[in-house]
């Protein structure tokens, strides 16, 4: 286990006037990890990502990024890159010009700054000389990622990087982020797409109303989850329905087809065993929502109710 932390936050609070955006946030992110940040709209995710990028400083609390304490705005150490609230590109410039301008801004030579490499990395080589004003949201997201890659980041902070991406684009970006993490780059990303988070992240932090509702590995989150809803397709639905209703810990949600039951994992295991013993073929057993999404909904509901 990698114990070196790329981010260490303790008691981070940030207010905008009377609005408390972050309320005592604690966060640990290990180096080389892809860490997901999820939460409902207005939970404080973008504010937290803004602090990690150095766009602002916390009103109180301690924040260390890549081992360096951050005490004022725009004072994060070198090696932090990314974007919040969109990738921020200049539509009158081509993709290549956008990257070359950013490279020149940082003192690099456009010819040797690796622009072709990062464009290929995010799959934009074919449109490198097209103006960004014609780009779709997904292409802009990828160009934003390329701009961040251009700096050779050690910590990559991304706000909704999968927004607007088609399945192929999403797979491409996931591949880039996974390879970056494998090379030691820490990635913190926010997303409303639970499938993205589940596919990419080893750990996740759920934020609700400015507080951390959960932080840790996805496996721990699944274990902490209580009952989930599952859809069952069998060879004999009426018999399966009767058997499910007769199994301890199983709740049959309605009479409609296909059969949907609510159960904790042990009760579900027992139901499957009984179906097999009864000679009923099990054709599909699928969670109606993913474990992460269920946990997210449950935890955020609790947090909202507790305020």
């Amino acid at each position: 286990m990698n114990t070196v932390l790329a981010i260490r936050a303790r008691g981070i609070t940030k207010c905008f006037g009377d609005v408390v955006a972050l309320d005592g946030i604690d966060l640990d992110v290990a180096q080389g990890q892809i860490h997901g940040l999820v939460g409902p709209n207005g939970a404080g995710k973008t504010t937290l990502l803004g602090l990690l990028l150095g766009l602002a400083v916390a009103d109180s609390g301690r924040l260390e990024i890549l081992g360096t304490p951050v005490r004022r705005a725009l004072a994060v150490p070198d090696g932090v890159a990314g974007f919040v609230d969109g990738p921020g590109l200049y539509p009158s410039l081509t993709a290549r010009q956008n990257l070359a301008a950013l490279a020149a801004l940082r003192g690099g030579d456009a010819r040797t700054a690796g622009i072709d490499g990062v464009l290929a990395e995010v799959g934009l080589t074919d449109v490198a000389d097209d103006k960004a004003n014609g780009f779709s949201l997904g292409m802009r997201q990828r160009l934003g990622l390329a701009a961040a890659l251009l700096t050779g980041p050690r910590l990559l902070v991304l706000d909704e990087p999968s927004n607007g991406l088609d399945p192929a684009g999403k797979k491409h970006v996931h591949g880039v982020l996974t390879r970056l993490a494998a090379d030691g780059t820490t990635v913190v990303l926010s997303s409303h797409r639970m499938d993205d988070v589940e596919a990419l992240c080893s750990e996740v932090t759920i934020v609700a109303t400015g507080r951390v509702a959960f932080s840790g590995p996805l496996s721990k989150l699944a274990a902490e989850s209580r009952e989930l809803d599952y859809r069952l397709l069998t060879s004999d639905p009426p018999a399966a329905r009767l058997l499910a209703a007769d199994t301890a810990g199983i709740g049959v949600l309605d009479d409609a087809e296909p059969l949907v039951v609510r159960a904790p994992t042990p009760a579900l295991d027992e139901l499957v065993a009984r179906l097999v013993r009864a000679g009923i073929a099990l054709r599909e057993l699928t969670p109606v929502v993913s474990p992460l999404e269920a946990a997210f909904l449950a935890l955020t509901d609790e947090q909202e109710a507790g305020r």
């Binding site: 940030k14 905008f16 973008t46 504010t47 803004g50 602090l51 990028l53 150095g54 766009l55 602002a56 725009l74 004072a75 070198d78 090696g79 932090v80 890159a81 990314g82 974007f83 919040v84 609230d85 969109g86 990738p87 921020g88 590109l89 200049y90 539509p91 009158s92 410039l93 010009q97 301008a101 950013l102 020149a104 801004l105 940082r106 003192g107 690099g108 700054a113 690796g114 490499g117 990062v118 290929a120 990395e121 934003g144 701009a147 890659l149 251009l150 700096t151 050779g152 880039v176 390879r179 970056l180 494998a182 090379d183 780059t185």
Partner: protein, 454 residues
């Protein structure tokens, strides 16, 4: 592949610092990549030349514009006509489009956060943006001046220019004065650019941010049209847009010009400093913040109100100027001086014996409203009788003029007889037939009491 790329990428630089020079180049690239800026550059470098050349070849000239009536006579009148137009319309619009949008564009594009992450210094971003917009504005002003001068010279030629008091400036002298006049209007242009920066920072993506320099310029121009006291007129930066007129008299009326330039530069510095302070206070993590809004703009207007009050007091105390500055004695002196210079020109054009201004000893007697009103202030009801003498002729000559004097001191003298002296007739000159120079001519009254006419 990622590993290879990441390993090849160099860190930004040793200190991770984006210098102002790099930021300046970045901002300049963003500005010149915009189609409207490119269009503006093309328009400023081509349109004035074509306009001046076309107008100079027409039989009807824009006589209501200063120096417009001399566009057939010399190519140097064209850039001065363009300068008058630029001060009213072109320069406020140029500053609006460039300086009024340089910060607001980032709001519109949603690029502030990425820019800050890349540069990490609001101070350097501000300086880079201000310098880049200034550079583009200078390029556009240079285009307006150069293009109109080239158009005038190409269409009419490099010939002497008749000054505002009728004296003749040699072609070289005229060229230098034209260049100096364009340089002088950079000061009020900078004041408008500073206001543009302030509006762009304060109002963000609101269209009012873009329009603020044009609105302020229009308001100040309207103020200049009112019969304000001289001290108030000179305390406004817009006066420098017309004070260059003083370069074309002999002796030059440099007092109002210098005051106008200093006032304009103080406005430029004040507006830029306010924009800077407002920009540094902005919270870029607050997504709802797209500029500091009307309250900030109202707060920004207060220093300018204070600045005008202080400037009025200083100008009044330093110059002793009171009232409108247009008084009977000054009007008579200005008209007589211009008449004498132009009479001498007419004499030469008509191949009559040469006469000097001293021999003419021209004087003028003026009244306003037929003598029923106090002879002071602007108006089109001034009537003057000019008297002069010729060597060897005992009787004095007299000619009548109707004067239309505007609030800024500029006047148009319209000959009202006798027609042999100041009526309309064509005079044969080496460059073609020209209207009688004594028929209608422009002049200006020095508004400050310390200025004197030659």
């Amino acid at each position: 592949m990622t590993a290879t790329i990441a390993a090849d990428l160099a860190p930004p630089d040793a200190a991770g610092r984006v210098t102002v020079a790099r930021g300046y180049r970045f901002e300049l690239l963003k500005l010149v990549s915009q189609w409207r800026i490119r269009l503006l550059v093309l328009a400023c470098w081509i349109a004035p030349g074509l306009f001046v050349a076309a107008v100079s070849r027409q039989s009807s000239l824009p006589a209501d514009t200063l120096f417009g009536r001399w566009m057939h006579a010399t190519g140097w009148a064209g850039p001065l006509v363009m300068l008058g137009f630029a001060g009213t319309w072109a320069l406020p619009l140029v500053t609006s489009v460039v300086a009024g949008d340089v910060f607001a564009a980032e709001d519109r594009l949603g690029t502030w956060r990425c820019l800050l992450v890349a540069v990490r210094s609001p101070r350097r971003i501000f300086v880079a943006k201000a310098l880049a917009s200034l550079s583009v504005i200078l390029l556009l002003v240079a285009g307006l001046g150069s293009s109109s001068a080239l158009g005038g010279i190409a269409a009419v030629g490099d010939r002497p220019l008749v000054g505002l008091d009728g004296h003749l400036l040699a072609a070289g002298d005229a060229a230098g004065k034209v260049l100096l006049a364009w340089v002088c209007v950079l000061a009020p242009t900078l004041a408008l650019a500073g206001i543009g920066l302030l509006g762009s920072v304060a109002l963000g993506r609101s269209p009012m941010g873009l329009l603020l320099p044009a609105v302020v310029a229009l308001t100040l121009q309207l103020a200049q049209m009112l019969p304000l006291p001289v001290a108030v007129r000179l305390a406004l930066p817009s006066y420098a847009f017309i004070a260059w007129n003083g370069l074309f008299t002999s002796p030059q009326q440099l007092g109002p010009l210098l005051i106008g330039i200093v006032v304009s530069l103080v406005w430029a510095v004040t507006a830029t400093a306010l924009a800077y302070l407002l920009f540094l206070r902005r919270d870029f993590t607050n997504l709802t913040s797209g500029g500091s809004g009307r309250r900030a703009l109202a707060a920004g207007a207060l220093p300018f109100a204070g600045l005008v009050a202080v400037t009025v007091a200083v100008v009044a105390a330093a110059t002793g100027a009171t009232g409108a500055g247009i008084e009977q004695g000054k009007v008579e002196s200005s008209l007589a001086t211009a008449f004498a210079h132009l009479y001498r020109m007419q004499t030469a054009q008509l191949n009559r014996p040469e006469v000097t201004e001293a021999q003419l000893a021209a004087t003028a007697a003026c009244n306003k409203g037929g003598g029923l009103l106090a002879a002071e202030g602007p108006g089109n009801d001034w009537r003057c009788v000019v008297t002069w003498h010729l060597p060897g002729v005992e009787a004095a000559g007299t000619a009548v003029y109707q004067l239309d004097i505007s609030a800024d001191g500029r006047f148009v003298a319209d000959g009202d007889g006798p027609k042999e002296v100041n009526g309309y007739f064509l005079v044969h000159t080496p460059i073609g037939d020209q209207p009688n120079p004594l028929w209608q001519f422009d002049g200006n009254v020095a508004l400050l009491p310390t200025a004197s006419k030659g």
